[in-house]
Structure formats: structure tokens, C-alpha cells
Assembly symmetry: C2
Homo-oligomer: 332 residues x 2
DNA sequence: TCATATCGGGTAATCCTTTACTCATTTCCT
DNA sequence: AGGAAATGAGTAAAGGATTACCCGATATGA
């Protein structure tokens, strides 16, 4: 615990040169002779020197760090996105700091404040609160949920899936399986992504002449298996029991699978199910979940590309909307 | 993108005082009158000032940050630990930066270097490589896998479960269910945790007079569902097909469930299974997994307590070994 | 040959905080 | 009342890196 950290000044002394030169060698800018460079590199090597990142960042007023804010790191959808971003960023020479808000808006705000105080170079904000204040003064990219201001705010950028299409695809699949009473379970309906999925679902119903009413629309407070389980119980015990359900998240659908299993309901004989996201787990549960795939790894890589571009001052495309795809498995 | 960040100097000017006083007010140390304090706070409030964390950390040569290194953030076991640590640390006024190494030793090293360069105050290292170099010059706590040097190195600390007991409990349960050919599947056997589980399992077999031989011990290269699936296939197709399997991770056991389902093998009629960890998913799969619980959230909270104590210079207990507990469910 | 570029590299200012010193006032004690 | 102690607050020195600026020496060109 006593080993002092060696500083650039020491290195300069040991290499018989000045701090400026050492800095130049490290950052490969400015001019220096090959010989001096060699000598400096040797000393750096010998003492295993690594510049103090705090001092560097302070000087240039920008850390080589980007904050990644996710609502629930225990959900595969987010942990895979986080990992993808982290990997990509690392390759580009940046450090990702992943912040799990645990669905709390308060923590969301707290994190943004702290990240700003740390002078991170950018922020990637996954599926956060719709009404969040724009993150100002710092490049920000939003994934999944598009905040209202994105189009107006230079310095922010959005990446997400075509949720209308997702809703349409899911409902269409259920219709084609001959289902007539198709329920949909959403996360809070006020969230734009959810609204769009609902619209897609409705359009499909309309196109195929299937009746759909308010009584078939369910909402869930939180997206986890337990809520999936409970809402399914409610749906199944309601007077207008449906013969198919579209869950606006694989996690919810997997919770549903558990309910139906316990209840002895056979899938897809008694009820057909489709989820959305296509997290890895969906392929592994039994029966394997039919779902709508979101290319969430792509969200991650587009996002990391976008932030670093923005951090370098380049103008970045404002919005990416990726299309979704139906994945056939065993639940319909 | 143009808004300049206001500095303490500006605040001092606006409050008609000196930077030293402003700093005192912010940090509640040193002396200042109530009146001045009030005035300064008002200006800070008005301009929404937040000290530059880089400068602060540079001055005190220590960031209010602790690095948390995990091998696989998509595994619930780790994501729950990470979240717990993050939450606890946040409450204590520290920031956690979660680093997912994706099981890569190279990234592990890279992260440690970068974290040091960022002058984090401490590192929590979850289930990393056994042969890692001790992290020097910085408080470190290790969770799950105990590196050899921990006992010798002041400034490091270990938290984990009683793996011998875990192995014993699992095997014992299987034996009591009347099973005679009990296989065990481990992650690399050279890992100390795995070795201990194996010993516990062997002791149980011995105590109850059940034969156990090398041919019942399997190893897996990686801990994920896919490897669980594949090793199970191998086991099931082998000439000495067992009637019970202990998986050294719930994730592996869940992969096994999938294999047996596809294969039409009934659990626990044809084969009994027990896992270890008790991740949330284990309770939700079908059939629900009988497992050995590790109190991994406790690992997280003990670890965050330990790092902050060490960061404050207090001596911390060297080692915590928590006991495990058998959880009865449906697979045996 | 002399003026000018180019090259290599050093000096010192700067980034923003914290904090050891210092000092002028006020309060307190005997 | 006079010296000690406490109070409130300012000055300036770190802390470790980057970089604008400067200078001497060599190379270049007319």
C-alpha cells in the first residue's frame, strides 16, 4: 500500500529529458528524435509507468470514458447490450462505466450528475425515462426509447427498433395460426415504444378483420418474470380468456410460460404466445419461445460508434431505426 | 455543447469570497461563518455547480470510485452481485464502475491497468483468474475465488462460500433420494472452488458408502447454458449413464434441463439434478431446480463494506466464508 | 554566405481542487 | 487589562499531465 505512483516528472528525470518530451513520446504528437523516443520508452517500460488518467483528463477537460446507463442489468436484453458497448468502446480506446439504475429515476438523475462531474466524454442511455431532461453539454446517444427532444437537440442521437413493425409481426403470426382473441401485454402504455407496438398490433388485427378491444390490452408495472407470471394469471382467469397473447418483452413471456406450466395449460395447444426481443434465454426455455427479434447487439455497436464520433466532434446521423424479424419457435 | 462548466473560482467570485472558503463550505470542513456558508450555498444552487471530480480526485490522489470486475455480466449470479455492490457503494457515496471481462484474462489485466490509471480507490474482483497477480497499492477484495496470496497480502481480503459444504450437501441430497450413480460436472478442476466442491461430493459418497470414480467426473470449459446442454448430452450417451447429476452451477443445470426435455427424459423420474448458486432463474424454470443456495447478495454487501473500510485505512477482517444451504425444488 | 525553415526539445502556464499557512479580529481568562 | 485561544477567511502551493511558446542548432535555398 506504500508504493508511490511514479509521475511523468520522474520519468523525464530518469530519461534525462523534460516532461514535455516524455508527453510527446507517449502521445506520439509533437516532435522528438527516434533516439530520445527510444530512451523514454525504455524508462517507461522499466518502471511500468502509466500516465495518471485523472491529470490527463483534467488537463484536456474530457475523460476517455463514456457512461452507459441501463435500467436493469439482470435482464439479458440489457446486459448483452452493455457488454457489446463495453467491448466496442474498449477497442476504440475508451472505458465504459456501466450504471444500473435498477429502474429508479432518482438514481438515473444521480448517475447523470456524477458522470458529468467525472467529465465523461459521452453518455449512452439505454431505455431510460421518456421525460428525462436532455443531457446537455455532452454527447449523448439514446437506445430503445426515444426522448422527445432528440430531433431538436444537436449533440444527441437515437437508436432503436421499428416497434410498429414488431407489434404487427407478432399479431400477424398469431392471426395466421388461426387465433381469434389476441391479447397484448404492455409495459406502461405511455411509453412511446409500447404505444407503437400497440399500434402495429391493432393494424394487423384490422387488416385481417379480427376484433380487438380495450379488454384485451393489459399493462404491467415492471418488466420481469414475476410480473409476467402475475399478469398472465389475471388474464387467464378473466371472463374473456384469450387464445393468444403477445407479450411486449420475452422476459414477461417467460414468466407466462411458468404460469401455464404450473396450471397445466398446454402451449401452443391451448394458447399461443409470442414475445419480443429474442434474448438468448428465449431459445432455451421449454417450450422455446416464438418471438420478434430485435438486433440489440447492433444497437450497441451503432451506439458506441455514434458516441465516439460525436466525442471527436464529427456530426453524426440523428436517428437509426432497425427493422425487426419474426423468429419461429414452439409457442405458436 | 457550448455550455462551459463553471468552476470553483467563479463561484468564489460570485459569492464574494475565496476559493478556499467555497471548498470549505462544500466539504464541510475547515471553518466558516454560517452567513458565508449560506451565501456560498445559494450561489452554488443558483448556478447548479458541482465540483469537478477529476480535479478533486487528482488533488487527493484517490477517486471516489471502485472498480468491480466480473467475468460474465450476462450471468445472473454476477449481475446480481454487481448490482448489489453498486447500490451499496452508491449509498456510501462511491461510484462503482463495472467491468465485464467476458471471461478474458487479457481484458482482466487491461481493466486493472486502466482502473489504476484512473486512480480508483479500490477494486472488487469477482471470481477472476486464480493465478492473477496480486493487485498492489490499492485495496482489493476478492469474491468467490480466493487467490493464493490473499493471506499474505495486507490490503486484500476474500469473501466466498463454503464450497466443500456445498458439494457435500448436493451429493447428500442425491444419495438420500436413493440414487447410486451420481455424476458431477465441474468447471475446470484446477479452480480451487471446484476442487473443494469435488471434495465435499466425494466425502458424502464415502460417508454413505456410494461408489464414485473418475468416470463420473466431468468438466466443462465455460459456464453457460450451452455448455450445460452439451456436457449433458455427452454424459447421457456415455456407457456408464448416471442416475443423478450435480452441476457446479445453476446455469449448467438449466442447460441440462433443456437437453432432457428435448430428449424426453423425465426429471426426477429418470434422473435427478441439483445445481448450485440459486440464481433467480432456477426457481422459474420447469421443473424448478433443486439447488444449493449461495448468499451472493451477502457477498456483495460484505465486499462493499470491506472496500470502503480499507479505503478509509481501517484494517479489515481477512476472510469471510459463508455457509450454503440446500433448496428443495422439483428436480430430485 | 546569409537569411530562413525545420527540427528537437525545454520552460512554464494551465486545468480545478484541496489544504497548509498566515493573518487580522474577536472572545476568553485570570 | 493584557496575553492566549479561537474564529473566519484569504494566499498560494501542490497534484500530474498537456501544450503554447520559445530558443538554439542544423539544414536549405538563393
Amino acid at each position: 500500500m506504500k508504493k508511490e505512483n511514479i509521475s511523468i516528472k520522474e520519468i523525464a528525470r530518469l530519461a534525462g529529458t523534460s516532461v514535455a518530451t516524455v508527453s510527446r513520446v507517449i502521445n506520439q504528437n509533437g516532435r522528438f528524435s527516434e533516439e530520445t523516443g527510444q530512451r523514454v520508452r525504455e524508462v517507461i517500460e522499466a518502471y511500468n509507468y502509466r500516465p495518471n488518467e485523472l491529470a490527463r483528463s483534467l488537463r484536456v477537460d474530457k475523460a476517455q470514458v463514456v457512461g452507459v446507463i441501463v435500467p436493469d442489468i439482470t435482464n439479458e436484453f440489457f446486459s448483452y447490450i452493455a457488454r457489446k458497448i463495453e467491448t466496442d468502446l474498449l477497442e476504440k480506446g475508451y472505458m465504459a462505466v456501466i450504471c444500473d439504475t435498477n429502474e429508479s429515476m432518482e438514481r438515473e438523475k444521480q448517475y447523470i450528475e456524477t458522470l458529468k462531474a467525472m467529465r465523461v466524454g459521452g453518455i449512452i442511455y439505454v431505455s431510460g425515462d421518456q421525460k428525462i431532461e436532455p443531457i446537455r453539454g455532452i454527447p449523448a446517444v439514446y437506445i430503445d426509447r426515444k426522448p422527445e427532444f432528440v430531433n431538436g437537440d444537436r449533440g444527441s442521437c437515437f437508436i432503436g427498433g421499428d416497434n410498429y413493425q414488431g407489434g404487427y409481426l407478432a399479431a400477424q403470426r398469431l392471426i395466421r395460426a388461426g387465433r381469434k382473441r389476441i391479447a397484448i401485454v404492455l409495459h406502461a402504455r405511455t411509453i412511446a415504444t409500447q404505444e407503437k407496438r400497440l399500434n402495429g398490433y391493432r393494424q394487423a388485427l384490422y387488416d385481417y378483420g379480427i376484433p380487438g378491444g380495450e379488454e384485451l390490452i393489459y399493462q404491467v408495472e415492471n418488466v420481469d418474470m414475476d410480473h409476467g407470471f402475475r399478469i398472465t394469471k389475471e388474464i387467464w382467469e378473466s371472463p374473456e380468456r384469450p387464445d393468444a397473447i403477445f407479450y411486449s418483452s420475452d422476459i414477461l413471456a417467460i414468466g407466462a410460460l411458468q404460469y401455464f406450466h404450473e396450471r397445466g395449460v398446454k402451449i401452443p395447444r391451448d394458447v399461443s404466445i409470442v414475445g419480443i426481443d429474442d434474448i438468448p434465454l428465449s431459445a432455451r426455455v421449454t417450450p422455446a419461445l416464438t418471438t420478434v427479434r430485435q438486433d440489440y447487439l447492433k444497437y450497441g455497436s451503432l451506439a458506441s460508434n455514434a458516441v465516439v464520433k460525436m466525442m471527436k466532434g464529427d456530426q453524426e446521423k440523428r436517428t437509426y431505426i432497425l427493422s425487426m424479424e419474426l423468429i419461429e419457435r414452439e409457442t405458436v
